[in-house]
Structure formats: C-alpha cells, structure tokens
Symmetry: C2
Subunit: 113 residues, 2 copies
DNA sequence: TTGACACATTCCGATATCGGAATATGATGC
DNA sequence: GCATCATATTCCGATATCGGAATGTGTCAA
C-alpha cells in the first residue's frame, strides 16, 4: 500500500506546496486557469491537474465563462482541518501565554533602569 | 518526481491518518510506544516508523526511561499550519457566525412552548 | 551471562504521486 | 467548416510512500 490518495481528504490535498500556493492565489478572488499559470511559475497542465485534485475534495469550485474556467475558493472545506487543529491549539497557546507573561515580567524588570 | 517527502514539513507529516491518530492519543499525555500500539490497532513497527516521521518534523519528542521510550506531543510545531489556515478562517467563520445567529433565533422561537 | 522485553531498523512488493511532453476536448470567431 | 485560444487528459519515467515480515539494538533481571 502507498500513501493515502491525494483525493481522499483535505489533509492529503493540502500536503502539496503547489496546491497551497494555488489556494493562496485564489484568496484574491475567482481566477481563470491562465491567470493562475501566470501568477505562479507552473505549467498549465500542472495547474489543471492540481485544480482537479482541489476540486475533488471540494476546496475549489468551477464556473465556465466562455472558453475560460473560473475557479473559486471554497474555504468552508478547510473546517475539518481547523477542527482537528483546535484540539492542539489550546495547548500551545497556553505555552505562548506563559511566554508572554514571562516576557512581560522581563519588561517590567527592565523598565526601572 | 514523486510527492514531497513526508519528513519535509508538517503538512506532509499530518497527511497520514495514522499519524493524526498517534498525535490524538498523545493529547492524553506522554506515552510509551507499547501503550500507543495498544491504544490504536497498529503493529509495533508501524507505530515506530510513524513516530520517527513525527519526530523528524518535531511534532513529538522522545525521552528514554529504562527500556521504554516515552513520546510527548510538541503542539507548538502545529503553528505553521494554524497560521496558514488563519488566512482562510475568517472567510468561513463569517458564514458560521451567521449560522450561529440563525440557530440562536430558532432556539429563542422554541423556548416559549 | 543469558534470556526476555521494548523498541528501532531494514528489506520487500505494491501502489500512488509528481512533473514534463504530447495530445484531446471544447468554445469562439471568421 | 476551420483555425485558434483556453483548458483538460493521457502517457511516461522516476521516485517516495505504505504495510508486513524479519531482524537488529539496547536495557533489565535472574
């Protein structure tokens, strides 16, 4: 058996840096494939293939306009990731809070000088 | 070229469901390898191999105690993921807020009965 | 020292991925 | 209809992954 399919869930789809870049560039709004190819330094077939994967897990949706295809972000699909992360988030934000407290303490000690 | 190495970054390490399960079981606290093998239904070598991957990206740390090895969660390493997600979070949390408002409305309408 | 226990590593076959190149589909305009 | 533009799909070789089985390493206890 190899690694889980990239189309099986959001976690696998997002594992690839190129796909994260595509999602990042789509935060600016709906874009045609050609526009994405221009923005990033990727070949057109690669962009199309990555868009297919993102589409299959629902992270992007597609709308045809003439001979162009406009892809749009579907950020709601990132929710499973966020929910999984939330379990751990508290733990490290606690630590960061403690670090903040500590830094604040240092700052207060430094001020009088 | 194949998919990016699983040891290269947190996103790839987390793409595998088995590794997410291991992290999940470690939220209860430090655990020995055998304990993880018992908790989940995985072979000992598989658990060890996954722990190695998680260790290489810093998501877990290890401490030797006699002939056992206790693994602990390092949740701070999930921060890059959280920061990446944060860019998208606002967009869908707005929608969720509206759903929350709607549910609250329904609840208020139900109470009088 | 020897054996048992806890864990890590290596070898293996099957499989899925990635990028590049070539090609196919499908809409537009003349 | 035919050429062109925009995008999707297929074929390919190289490579990295996964799980299972077997084996290696290191610690404790008698």
């Amino acid at each position: 058996m190899a690694r889980s399919s990239t189309t099986s869930d959001v976690f696998n789809a997002i594992a690839e840096a190129s796909r994260r870049e595509i999602l990042d560039t789509l935060t600016a709004g709906e874009k045609a494939v050609g526009a994405i190819v221009n923005d990033l330094s990727m070949s057109q077939p690669q962009v199309s293939k990555h868009l297919r994967v993102l589409s299959e897990v629902g992270l992007v949706s597609c709308r045809a306009e003439g001979r162009r295809r406009l892809y749009r972000l579907e950020p709601a699909r990132l929710r499973p990731m966020h929910e999984w992360l939330a379990k751990y988030e508290q733990e490290w934000s606690d630590r960061l809070d403690r670090i903040d407290d500590y830094l604040g303490e240092l700052r207060r000690q430094g001020e009088p000088q």
